[in-house]
Symmetry: C2
Subunit: 428 residues, 2 copies
């Protein structure tokens, strides 16, 4: 027994969290030994098990829904909690897709032969143990378990109490599938004690947790950053911008603005603020207003914009940094590309911004100076997405600059190590 | 004036730290616009200025030394504080070397053409504003200013009060060199208020500081991690191991063990614990003891080791995680490569470990299972170093797994952004 012999770190940590995190660390060493074939087989078993055990999962999910209704949860939250045949199918399909993605662990990032004969390689390895803190959606359990398993990371998944029964049910089904695939250890853990205190202890268990990924609103993420002594990758809000330059193709600009705002307003890569070059504002704004009226988009306008189009509310300073996640957009007229850049770097959330222009120099200037994860020319902000970028999967969109920036795929769930081999070399 | 118009983030931060960090952010946007040629010219000017102004710098350094003596600082600390012609020369040489390194900013990491015609590129960009917190060595100012400037990052350098005058003198000389090279803004900042309170405020200024790198002992780093809400890259201690396997070439193993312990015992990549396979212990240990006696290395031994060689102190549990940074080594006899791996993963600091073996399978097993930044076969742990790895420069050796692991060179001082260009594409 590794645990008993004190040969796993963090033996000073007592209680539930100490035991759980040591067990997770131990699993991480076992998981690192599995071959790609073993992992992919298990992922396919997991995908099948979700469908095979749908009655059990949906029954457990009903307990959460009933509890939620007793607690008078908002209907939108109840909707997020709810599982059904279609959602289970989607979770299963996702696991199958992850199984088919190419292996990233073990990939050689670079290699060199030093003058002294030492061979050096930098290779991708799992991060180890990753704590995911999420809110109400139970599909996070299977999505994250799949992506972390694929990259040989052990997930500790801590969901909100609202989805308690659903999360445990999915864990049970997926771990059952793992055993059926011949894997005789737990490769991920749903935290079964949902108290605040346990969450706090987890966020301080840096001995045996290597990374925290909070999945939820800004308030949750801020709390996690405050408490954690483990590195956190933050997926803060997306206050995304479109800048319509003087030379923009107006038809394309309209199409892009509507797409970026309307196609799916509740997601982080939807546009929230549109900046318009003063020389095109008089022509462009009335057309844009008409499109937004048709699509029931409310406008918050700066004084110049309000001077050109009527029937719009005034924008306050706070609007420029608001993520509406709704059919609302703020609009401002700017002097030139430089003012647009300064506005975005100051008020934005460093997520995704797009310039609509036919001026190549302005496009290059915008791409260079914008301090955001994704900088676009003449396309919708909605393309800021792991699948759209060809990453094959996405665990989120990082607004951090460290480790991962923008869409995070499988590679971003790995770290690397340096391997050097020689023949007795010593340092002179 | 950018600051006055509120177009730089963090305008709610008052006082010295608010002003300093906003100014740093503003500088970071200007710095990002400089060409490689401009930066390299400035670095050469900086290198020359250190020598040209040596009298001024040494005079200011004498003030720190005098103050240190008045405060009865330990002689080893006084030595770390002291500058002289040779040390200034070394600082100047380092800046010249950094000037000659290839540019990393703007490098294309990957690119692809999506089926919908969108072209995507992932390119290296500066991180932005980096806070370096360091202790007594004033050379950190020029070393860090040089590496950060080369990578187009603005440095905020907060040194201990012991080197106050020296740090400011070096800042003055280097910023003078920048103006002489035609750069009309401050590209790095030495924090002129060395109070604890100001340091705490800096560590909470996440609006305008992107990364913290503490350079100092474990206690300093832990404090920084506790207080900071900005990502921290940690260079914790190096409890490095050598495992002498049953099939080791004994001559090479002796040479490597002595080199790793004795050549420079005060650095993080020196070996602290030697693990020896039980089947080779009786033959190897007496020879190792002889070498270590010659080199005045004290041994802390486990019971089995003490049963083979005499005149050694007993190792306590705490020895296995101690970084001696001195002519002291702990030695333990283990059953096999698996026990060695478990010991290292449990007690080590995930820095650098080397196996000495002629068994290829054991070597591969060790490389795969050791959870450390650098995993070596048949070479000294002392090779864990940015220069030895061919990185050209080194700001430290990260014991973190996120963003940078092991020796950190110029690339590790950058992040990336995604650039995508199209022709009106929207998401369907």
């Amino acid at each position: 027994m590794l645990l008993a012999s004190g040969i796993i770190k963090g033996s000073f940590m007592k209680g539930y969290v100490g035991k759980l995190t040591r067990q997770a660390r131990e699993s991480s060493y076992k998981l690192a030994r599995l071959s790609s074939a073993q992992k992919n087989k298990a992922l396919k078993f997991m995908a099948a098990a979700l469908l095979k055990n749908r009655d059990f999962i949906l029954r457990e999910n009903k307990k959460d829904l009933a509890a939620g209704r007793r607690k008078n949860l908002k209907e939108s939250l109840i909707d997020r909690l709810a599982l059904n045949e279609a959602r289970l199918k989607q979770m299963s399909v996702s696991l199958g897709e992850v199984a088919r993605l190419p292996e990233v662990v073990g990939k050689v990032i670079s290699s060199s032969l030093r003058p002294n004969g030492i061979k050096i390689k930098k290779i991708r390895v799992p991060i180890g143990v990753v704590l995911v803190i999420f809110e109400a959606r139970p599909n996070v359990v299977s999505d994250c378990a799949g992506l972390l398993f694929k990259t040989s990371n052990v997930g500790i998944l801590r969901g909100g109490s609202a989805s308690f029964y659903s999360n445990l049910a999915i864990q049970k089904v997926l771990n059952g599938a793992l055993s059926a695939a011949g894997i005789n250890f737990k490769a991920f853990f749903v935290v079964e004690k949902t108290s605040h205190k346990i969450a706090q202890e987890l966020l301080r268990a840096s001995e045996n947790i290597d990374l925290v990924i909070p999945r939820g609103g800004e308030a949750l993420i801020k709390k996690v950053v405050e408490v954690s002594n483990i590195p956190v990758i933050k997926h803060y809000k997306g206050v995304c911008h479109i800048f319509v330059d003087k030379t923009a193709d107006i038809k394309k600009a309209l199409k892009i603005a509507v797409n970026a705002k309307v196609q799916r307003p509740s997601v982080c890569n939807a546009v929230e603020t549109i900046l318009i070059h003063k020389d095109i504002a008089k022509k462009f704004l009335p057309l844009l207003k008409k499109e937004f009226d048709t699509n029931k988009v409310a406008i918050r306008a700066d004084a110049k914009t309000a001077g050109i189009i009527s029937g719009v509310k005034k924008a306050f300073e706070s609007d420029w940094s608001t993520e509406y996640l709704d059919l609302v957009v703020s609009i401002k007229v700017v002097k030139d590309v430089d003012e647009a850049i300064r506005h975005i770097n100051c008020y934005g959330s460093h997520h995704t911004e797009s310039i609509i222009t036919r001026n190549k120099k302005n496009a290059e200037h915008f791409l260079k100076e914008i301090d955001s994860a994704c900088c676009f020319v003449n396309i919708s902000t909605r393309f800021s997405d792991g699948y759209q970028f060809g990453l094959g999967a996405e665990i989120g969109i990082s607004t951090d600059k460290l480790h991962a920036r923008g869409p995070m795929g499988l590679e971003e769930l790995t770290t690397y190590k340096w391997i050097a081999t020689g023949n007795g070399q010593i340092r002179e």
